[in-house]
């Protein structure tokens, strides 16, 4: 059982710079990660760049943890992309728009490896 958190996703500059280069290493490094605040990092017992598993009712994914000041306790930010979206429900509540923000999630330290984009896409085949 992991720690309960609120998951949001969104754009970053490096993610934007690689919009047309999503198979690149720079995109992978930027997007397959999650921002946490210091207290949450300590609670999980993870250091920067260690892997965490994030799980929702719709899926689970392994990403690298990053400490970011200004992220409120209990909130996790994953840059928009295949890793964040593996955790998002397709239910649009009749609006056409999935819930990309405000998702109930659990997070825990893991020794599992972060899947590369090609490996991650394979999980849908």
């Amino acid at each position: 059982m992991g720690t309960k958190v609120n998951l949001i996703s969104g754009r970053t500059t490096v993610q934007g710079r690689n919009l047309d280069s999503k198979m690149s290493e720079e995109y992978f490094e930027e997007v397959a990660r999650c921002d946490l605040n210091k207290a949450d990092m300590e609670k999980l017992g993870v250091a920067a760049d260690e892997s965490v598993k994030v799980r929702t009712s719709y899926g689970e994914v392994v990403v690298k943890a990053k400490e970011v000041a200004g992220t409120p306790e209990g909130l996790v930010f994953i840059p928009m992309g295949p890793w964040a979206n593996a955790l998002v429900s397709g239910d649009t509540h009749g609006a056409g728009m999935p819930s990309y923000k405000g998702i109930d999630a659990e997070i825990e330290k893991t020794g599992d490896k972060v899947l590369h984009v090609k490996e991650l896409m394979q999980t849908y085949m």
């Binding site: 609120n6 949001i8 996703s9 969104g10 754009r11 970053t12 500059t13 934007g16 710079r17 690689n18 919009l19 047309d20 280069s21 999503k22 198979m23 690149s24 921002d35 719709y58 899926g59 000041a69 200004g70 992220t71 409120p72 909130l75 930010f77 928009m80 992309g81 295949p82 979206n85 593996a86 955790l87 998002v88 429900s89 397709g90 239910d91 649009t92 509540h93 009749g94 609006a95 056409g96 728009m97 999935p98 819930s99 990309y100 923000k101 405000g102 984009v117 090609k118 991650l120 896409m121 394979q122 849908y124 085949m125």
Partner: protein, 434 residues
């Protein structure tokens, strides 16, 4: 070496049109001024899809454009419920052919607005939008609000060209004479620049809009000491700042559309703007993401009457977001083939809906390989609009701007590929009718 000025950026909804680049040997070798780092990256180029390809036994095999056109047309003509999705990172001329193709097929046509500002479109259809051009903001606005938006990362030139940092006719002192309010759930590069940062609890935007509405209408007594994590003191200060504006401009992003009440958040944001009208001039504008997502909404509206999520299978246009948006169609496993152009659902759709997309035949038209390519069955490399192809796009404030062609391409334009698919589909149908 040739220097080209007034280059137009084809990345985000800012559509900056004051860029200077150097071109040598049919390559953009330098972006000299005007572009942000994201736009610069776009202009300088990335790895390309090298050849048209068809998936055979799980592997993409290179083929000719003729073979790929034939295969794509066969897939679409045989489909009973095709979805044609994307359209936001290409030009209006291609989008127009896309609508024609959708009509020919009786397809559902949807665009990236449905996972971006679709809720804003719904809200605008509900209550209208007191908005203005970005030029008006630049020349007039002295109070700027970014709500659920982080332009310092996502629209890096927005503040410099149009809002907080820009200098215009009545705003010649620039940011010295302006106020910046940022509303977000976490500290961002944008919030660090703000005069007032309202850090709200995630998902509580609706409540905070309502509180500001109440204060602006003179009913601060109904507002409790704290709303959605924001103190009444900060709300009163923000409302005073809004009231004191000569001209205020709110910009909102995915922080509002992606969350909780969705379109109802935006309705409330627009009504907050109306409340500000009892004191001063105030406008509100969505921060559109792709450089031509506003354009496909325009094209789709003038061709079908509706901006996104349009079903053409009935012989007339039927609009129902929530039923006909791409995500909903995929979750219900309703579509049996898809054409994806100028977008990347493989990266940007919920995993749950990608599962169905990965199962059905997918045709992809894009200059660049991306996660969608991983499961696409027919792939067409295309010229990069705004670098290798000209055409019209609509900026986030719905101002049409023409993209320039800077260099020649070895790849055809999106419009040309779509026209060929359309011709081939018509030929197949004619044959079937005989």
């Amino acid at each position: 070496m040739v220097e080209i000025t007034d280059v137009v950026c084809s990345l985000c909804g800012c559509v900056c049109d004051d860029i200077t680049v150097e071109v040598e040997d049919n390559k953009v070798t330098k972006v000299k001024r005007g572009a942000c780092s994201v736009g610069k990256s776009k202009l300088m180029g990335h790895n390309r899809i090298k050849s048209p390809a068809i998936r055979v036994n799980g592997e993409l095999k290179d083929c000719s454009y003729d073979e790929a056109i034939k295969k794509a047309a066969e897939i679409l003509a045989a489909s009973r419920r095709p979805l044609l999705y994307g359209w936001s990172s290409t030009v209006c001329e291609a989008d127009k052919v896309g609508v024609e193709l959708s009509e020919e097929l009786g397809a559902v046509i949807d665009n990236t607005a449905s996972v971006c500002h679709g809720p804003s479109v719904l809200a605008i259809q509900d209550v209208g939008l007191p908005s203005c051009t970005l030029g008006e903001v630049k020349n007039r606005a002295d109070v700027i609000i970014y709500w659920g938006a982080n332009p310092a990362e996502a629209h890096a030139n927005h503040m410099k060209r149009y809002s907080y940092v820009s200098k215009g006719f009545w705003t010649e002192e620039g940011k010295k004479a302006k106020k910046l309010v940022v509303v977000d759930v976490r500290a961002t590069k944008t919030s660090k620049m703000a005069d007032v940062f309202l850090q709200l609890e995630q998902g509580k935007d609706y409540l905070v809009f309502s509180a500001l509405r109440a204060i602006l209408y003179g009913h601060e007594e109904v507002v409790p000491d704290e709303v959605g994590g924001v103190s009444k003191k900060d709300l009163l200060e923000t409302a005073e700042m809004m009231k004191g504006a000569k001209f205020g401009a709110t910009f909102f992003g995915m922080g509002v559309t992606h969350t909780g009440a969705r379109q109802n958040n935006i309705v409330n944001a627009i009504q907050m703007t109306r409340a500000a009208h009892t004191h001063t001039k105030f406008t509100i504008t969505p921060m559109r993401g792709h450089y031509n997502v506003a354009g496909i909404n325009q094209v789709c509206t003038w061709e079908t009457g509706f901006p996104f999520a349009v079903d053409l299978s009935r012989g007339y246009a039927w609009y129902n977001p929530g039923e006909l948006s791409a995500t909903d169609l995929l979750i219900r496993q309703e579509c049996d083939a898809a054409l994806i152009i100028a977008s990347d659902p493989g990266a940007h759709f919920p995993g749950e809906s990608i599962k169905h997309l990965a199962k059905i035949p997918v045709i992809q038209i894009d200059p660049f390989p991306n996660p969608t390519t991983e499961f696409a069955d027919v792939v067409f490399p295309a010229a990069v609009s705004g670098v290798e192809a000209a055409g019209n796009v609509y900026r986030m404030d719905n101002i049409p701007i023409r993209l320039r062609k800077l260099i020649d391409s070895e790849y055809p334009e999106d419009e040309a590929i779509l026209k060929r698919i359309l011709d081939e589909v018509r030929a197949i149908k004619e044959k079937e009718d005989k």
